[in-house]
């Protein structure tokens, strides 16, 4: 294999790796200015995103594609570690957008904050791991790629190492992360024992011949638990709220908007094979071993997990008094919606779940970025502390309101489109999946309550009396006013971008939705 054809599928990853190394090198030669290191990271991610979009075949830049058209969406021969699928490329784009938003916003961190090289280096390293997850076709490669992301994010949470709250968050995240990794690898080892291979395509091909149904069931069981921790599914979610609350808020935006979707995409890769076979052969197909048909069992398990996750997440979000914790619980409930797609396993359902994850980057990721910007002005952590923001900062308040409305699924926002596609796919699938749609709709209605409460506080309550004006960085020795409405250019750009996507895709979803639907169709017809 010559170098050029090897670099083809890995060009985005190589770019991010180069970005990471360059940032750390700049640190060695004492170039540590936030804007400089941040610009290197943003540039690397933007270039990587450009090549990913070119590989997906978007018209104006398709000439830049580095993978020949025969290299995408073909069942790999032999048992390679990676296979490029169009859905994988869509997810690479989603992950890169999440990384890019956070990197852009962090360009304008207040100047007194240190550790820019560590932050940006680890951010591109974590994104690199996420890109590898999207093209994995081997169970061990997949789990190790997830670990690249995990280890980078433990350190990202801990990078402000003099802050007791974020150190505690890092500690909790590390312990739970290590536990879930252990369980995932144990499950993978059992599957290796049952099938003699760890390649996901090969597992699907040889799946009826394994002689150890107990090993298969236990293996998939351990993998569900291990990956559910990463994807913050209830009842494996308890760590997430504390971590999202304690981590530096820009890092929280990356965790909620980006890295937890790695766990959800791993659900696509690992469990779709058995679920699909259950769909084409209702008796369980080749995954039937003895009396137990794996596919239907998995579908029921994933459906129950999905319903429990969205319900518990929403009910607990209702009870929160703090902004970050409320958004964290709402993020957990959103993971439940996304899991519906895997449980059903049809192409429209996968497309809906993928669009939901795309939307979540711009709704939840950007919401956390906005919260970080507002908190830097000295606004307290409680929802109450935000009262009167609508009169004092109308633009900021309207942007935040749009994100919350989109999270609730109000029409003409991207959140409505993704939920509509997802729930109508559930109704189409018939059987008990119709109840998944019902549960999802009831949960959306429930979520409107707590989003509306926040909107009421922001727009209809009198401002809190305070001495300093909003928009000035709090706690600095001398007053520092960031440009662009107190957010700084980078953060303002990221938030504006998110608002534009929320509204534009909500009004005219066809380009994005069409690309995702085509990719999901390909994935279902040949995926692992």
């Amino acid at each position: 294999m010559d170098v050029a054809s090897f670099a083809g599928p890995f060009l985005p990853e190589i770019l991010l790796l180069a970005g990471t190394l360059l940032v750390f090198l700049l640190d060695v030669v004492r170039v540590r200015r936030n804007e400089v290191v941040g610009a290197v990271t943003v540039l690397g991610m933007a270039l990587a995103l450009l090549f990913v979009l070119a590989d997906l075949g978007f018209a104006p830049i398709a000439g830049l594609a580095t993978i020949s058209s025969g290299g995408i969406d073909t069942v790999p021969s032999g048992t390679p570690l990676y296979a490029v699928t169009s859905l994988g490329l869509v997810f690479q784009a989603i992950f890169l957008l999440a990384g890019l938003l956070v990197a852009l916003a962090s360009l304008s961190r207040p100047s007194r904050e240190r550790g820019a090289p560590i932050f940006f280096g680890l951010l591109s390293l974590a994104t690199l791991g996420m890109l590898l997850v999207a093209i994995a076709s081997d169970l061990i490669f997949l789990l190790l790629s997830i670990e690249i992301t995990s280890i980078a994010t433990y350190l990202l949470v801990a990078y402000t190492r003099r802050d007791a709250r974020s150190m505690e968050a890092a500690m909790k995240m590390y312990i739970i992360g290590a536990l879930s990794t252990t369980l995932s690898f144990f499950g993978a080892s059992l599957l290796y024992g049952a099938y003699g291979t760890t390649n996901l395509y090969a597992i699907r091909a040889v799946a009826g011949t394994g002689g150890y149904p107990v090993l298969v069931l236990l293996g998939y069981g351990f993998l569900i638990v291990g990956l559910a921790f990463k994807a913050t599914l209830v009842p494996f979610h308890a760590w997430a709220v504390d971590v999202y609350d304690g981590a530096p808020t820009d890092v929280t935006a990356f965790l909620a908007g980006g890295s937890k979707k790695v766990g959800l995409f791993a659900f696509f890769l690992v469990f779709l094979g058995p679920v699909l076979l259950a769909r084409t052969a209702p008796s369980g197909g080749p995954f039937t071993n003895g009396a137990v048909a794996l596919g239907p069992v998995l579908q029921v398990t994933l459906s129950v997990l999905a319903v429990v996750t969205m319900t518990v997440g929403n009910v607990l979000a209702l009870l929160q008094k703090e902004m970050k914790r409320m958004l964290a619980y709402s993020s957990i409930s959103q993971a439940g919606y996304m899991l519906i797609g895997v449980a059903i396993g049809t192409a429209p359902a996968l497309a809906g779940a993928t669009l939901q994850m795309f939307a979540h980057v711009f709704m939840k990721g950007a919401a956390f970025l906005l919260v970080a910007g507002v908190a830097a002005w000295g606004v307290g952590p409680l929802i109450e502390d935000w009262r009167g923001l609508g009169t004092r900062r109308p633009l900021t308040a309207v942007a935040f309101a749009l994100m919350l409305l989109s999270l609730a699924g109000v029409p003409l926002t991207i959140g409505f489109v993704s939920k509509f596609v997802l729930f109508s796919a559930a109704v189409q699938a018939q059987g008990y999946f119709v109840w998944l749609a019902v549960a999802g709709l009831l949960n959306s209605a429930l979520s409107v309550f707590y989003y509306a409460r926040v909107l009421k506080v922001i727009f209809f309550e009198a401002p809190a009396p305070r001495s300093e004006p909003l928009g000035v960085v709090a706690g600095a020795s001398e007053p520092e006013v960031l440009p662009a409405g107190g957010f700084g250019y980078g953060r303002a750009t990221a938030i504006a971008l998110a608002v534009i996507v929320i509204v534009a895709v909500g009004v005219y979803p066809q380009p994005v939705l069409g690309a995702i639907q085509a990719a999901a169709q390909q994935f279902v017809s040949l995926g692992p």
Partner: protein, 105 residues
């Protein structure tokens, strides 16, 4: 190698996993917790080694290679854990996990 008793070996690694998880759930000292994580991780690695021997041939080599990679990975993970312990100890002078309760109100 197919004469080996599969139940016995998987039972052994399952016991190892149980010991590790019990340790993760009950230990309050971060260092002991790291050791428990290592024990639990080794359960999976042991499985790979055993199944590799059981499978034999070239397919078996995959399992042995994975086992070696995972040993390296486990070391990486513990290195990060130790870094967090160090920073935590510098910050609050204690590595007791139970004392970190600032975030649960």
């Amino acid at each position: 190698m197919s004469g080996l008793p599969i139940v016995g070996f998987v039972g052994l690694s399952a016991a190892l996993l149980a010991v590790g998880i019990f340790g993760i759930l009950t230990r309050r000292n971060f260092i002991l917790l790291l050791i428990a994580i290592e024990i639990a991780m080794n359960a999976g690695i042991l499985n790979f080694v055993y199944f590799a021997a059981y499978t034999g041939g070239t397919a078996g080599l995959t399992g042995q290679a994975i086992a070696v990679v995972l040993v390296g990975f486990a070391a990486t993970e513990v290195a990060v854990g130790l870094a967090i312990v160090l920073a935590l100890n510098r910050l609050r002078g204690s590595i007791n996990v139970a004392e970190a309760t600032e975030l649960r109100r």
